[in-house]
Amino acid sequence: MSASSTAEAPFVPKTKVGSFTNFVDERVGGSGILREFGRKVFPDHWSFMFGEVALYSFVILLMSGTFLTFFFDPSMAETHYQGSYTPLYNVEMSVAYSSSLNISFDVRGGLFMRQVHHWAALLFVASLGVHMLRVFFTGAFRKPREMNWVVGGVLLILAMAAGFTGYSLPDDLLSGNGLRIIDGVIKSIPVIGTYTSFFLFGGEFPGTAIIGRLYVLHILLVPALILLMIVIHLFMVVVHKHTQYPGPGRNDGNVVGYPLGPVYAAKAGGFFFIVFGVLALMAAAFTINPIWNYGPYDPSPVSAGTQPDWYIGFVDGALRLMPGVINDFHFEWVIFGRTLTLNVLLPALVPAGIIFTVLFMYPWIERWVTKDNREHHVLDRPRNAPTRTAIGVAGFTWYCVMWAAAGSDLIATHFHVSLNDVTYWLRTLFFIGPVIAFIVTKRIALALQRKDREIALHGRETGRIVRLPHGEFIEVHAPLDEYKRYKLVGFESPAPIPAQPNEHGVVTGKEKRRAALSRWFFEDRVAPATPAELEAAHAHGHHEAIAAGEDQKSLSH
């Protein structure tokens, strides 16, 4: 249909599908939306899929969770179990636990849905965490995406809250002890702790209110907030357009990738089914949270080797690492007749507080240090930002030490070592682990950068050894094509920015601190190879394609 005819006569659809589509389109403006987004370009990389895994896990959580609500009864009223799991027959328990057992044993597919839900929850938090690591290590949090980084951090906290509230719902022995620990932590909060505990549990622990309250949080409030944050997150992704890895043809002014329709939509849509399929496979083959083995909650028994779900592990591990008494120094103090129990309060709040504070503030810290107010749409390869990468690995190591500490008893029993020694070692690693990780990571990143320079200037090693007429052996180096070379040289290597006076000509203390940080960030740097250096390397070699010998391996630093 030509342009002139559209102007004269309104479009008349010819088929039934066409007239239906036209009916909708005339009322919602779908053509405009399709025109804007139908061919929108998305960069492609395997590491961009972690966020997708998180999104799809959440969709699967909503679907499986809705199924579970049809059968779960969040009541703490006492009942005697009458279901088909004979070991617990006639045992006194809460209605919540009884209905969880019924879902597992008397509802067809109930056990499958419970396991899909639990595995999806574990995967949801894990993929969020890995996605945030990817964003951190590639510098994707830089302008204009700082706020989306914060939204991601909020999502991580919400995901942990969703996980914990759901974990507690079956009212089994294991999750009941988890709640008991939460109650102990809440009671350690100064001034308001006891009141908060009584308000949360509706009186003394465990009371008869907590499961119903957690249920409302778990199925309504927290998922609604997660959904809201996801909408904001994706809206900002559309506004910013996706970042891309560096490479030939990619820069901060463009976005290179596949059009949404059909390739990207097919890959991303197909990936949803793959995530679902893998979760179904896990739920089919691997038991998760066998609540029937634990029995109903009772404040008296507890099983050895108990573990929280993995994402709570770092807090539990911090609780384990903190000594209550060192020699005769007690961490519980009585001040003015009030009890301050630092042996609980410090490990429960401080490490998690530090991790999330630094996480939320990091984009602004780096922006302040680098004085960089430009938009960044091309990612950094982690090696090309050695200090940032080292900070990230140090933080990750710190987290992992605490996480490992949550399994200190299992480490001791599995490896036949003393539980006390495991704790002492982990306490040491808590302090020196991040430092070692920082130093090692930074050195590795710088070494990888030097290797990149070497390859960019002298080509890749072919493994072909040639004997020259005068007897010398050399290895033939094959030069890179310009596209591969550009990937190795096309990055920025910021230098330290010295302290600069402000408009009054004064160098402030804050500016001096910034300059010191800037020096710490960037004093060790490897500059990208330049065309002049390549020229020199070639001139020095025997032949364009043959460059060898120790004399050419000197690198500027």
């Binding site: 044993f105 001034v191 496979l281 089919a284 083959a285 507890v302 609980v344 065309p531």
Partner: protein, 356 residues
């Protein structure tokens, strides 16, 4: 222009880049030339890929059928064995997995092998233009001006005051979420009722324990007499009152002043609720006389009145004073002399209250 159609399967548009014309830097050579796949050039390979996608979709159909058969052919009755439930779970899961993976891998294979795989370049646009900013400022100025809020501070200030106070009822209305704590945490069921001392009974059946039943080295999980008969708040009372009862060689106990008669013949009773965050201290190491909390590994030494010798707890486990009644049964001579369980802000105040 953000033209979606630049770049054909055989030609990807080269783009202008920042940093060009700088001698110190390598110039961006632009997108590498596109390389054709086998399926782009060989119709046989394309046909093979098409069949592979169809087979994957077919696998999905089989998976769905497996699910339906497993759901309807296996019924769960009252006498269903665990093995049947496991089998059904496995088949439902495998069916779903094949149904989903078939669709997923099929679509991805289709996209990767047969759909155009040439990368295209699109320009980014400014997230905010200066023109938009100025327009927005004008609009906001007009709005503020039309409300007159700057000219009428009385309206502004009263509104701020009203809005600041209005959420208070929303906070206050949650006041009945729980009762005030008062002294609830200071007392347990062990307190004697009148002259009647509470017997120590076995957890969970509630049978009383004779002192002669407790041999050296043995340990009992103990609840107070009457706990099982409670109709309300049973778990709340149990969460405070559970006790571990052990008998040691009387010489190995080192009672401090005032606690000499809290034990009977080497039999001692300590609160089972950890003073760290409240887990049950359920592990008794008979040889070393240590009590270990399985949650966070706080370790208490029975021979030193359950002093903390390792782990995150900071206070000893509270001791329950016990004796033997006329019939030879163990009884608690009083409630705990301090609050049990994890520490809380008012704990020291409560301890003074108990001992006054």
């Amino acid at each position: 222009m953000g033209n979606h159609s630049d770049g054909s399967p055989n030609h990807s548009g080269t783009v202008a880049t920042a940093g060009q014309n700088e001698v110190e830097k390598f110039q961006d050579p632009g997108l590498p030339p596109h390389r054709l796949r086998l399926a782009d050039t060989d119709p046989v390979a394309a046909k093979r890929a098409e069949r592979q996608v169809a087979i994957l979709f077919g696998t999905s159909v089989i998976g769905t059928l497996v699910f339906l058969v497993a759901y309807f052919a296996i019924d769960l009755g009252d006498d269903t064995s665990i093995a049947t439930i496991r089998t059904q779970n496995l088949l439902l899961g495998l069916g779903t997995a094949f149904a989903m993976l078939g669709i997923g891998t099929g679509i991805v294979h289709w996209a990767k092998a047969l759909m155009p795989d040439h990368e295209v370049s699109e320009e980014r646009h400014a997230i905010r233009t200066e023109e938009d900013r100025q327009a927005a400022v004008r609009i906001v100025d007009d709005i503020v001006d039309e409300t007159g809020i700057k000219r009428r501070p009385l309206i502004r200030n009263t509104l701020l005051g009203a809005v600041a106070l209005a959420p208070l009822p929303a906070l206050a209305i949650f006041g009945d979420l729980g009762p005030r704590p008062d002294n609830a945490l200071a007392h347990t069921m062990w307190a004697p009722e009148g002259d009647k001392l509470k017997r120590l009974t076995r957890d969970p059946d509630g049978t009383p324990i004779k002192a002669s039943d407790v041999t050296i080295g043995s340990a009992f999980h103990v609840i107070p007499e009457g706990l099982n008969e409670l109709h309300e708040g049973k778990l709340n009372e149990k969460a405070k009152a559970v006790v571990l009862l052990m008998r040691l060689d009387p010489d190995s106990l080192n009672p401090s002043e005032g606690r000499e008669n809290w034990s009977y013949n080497g039999i001692v009773a300590y609160s089972k609720i950890c003073t760290h965050v409240g887990c049950p201290v359920a592990l008794y190491e008979q040889q070393t006389h240590h009590l270990l909390c399985p949650c966070h590994q706080s370790t208490f030494d029975l021979t030193q009145e359950c002093k903390v010798i390792f782990g995150p707890a900071s206070r000893p486990l509270p001791q329950l004073p016990i004796a033997v009644d006329a019939e030879g049964y163990l009884v608690a001579t009083s409630d705990f002399r301090e609050p049990v369980g994890p520490s809380y802000w008012e704990r020291d105040e409560h301890e003074r209250l108990i001992n006054s």
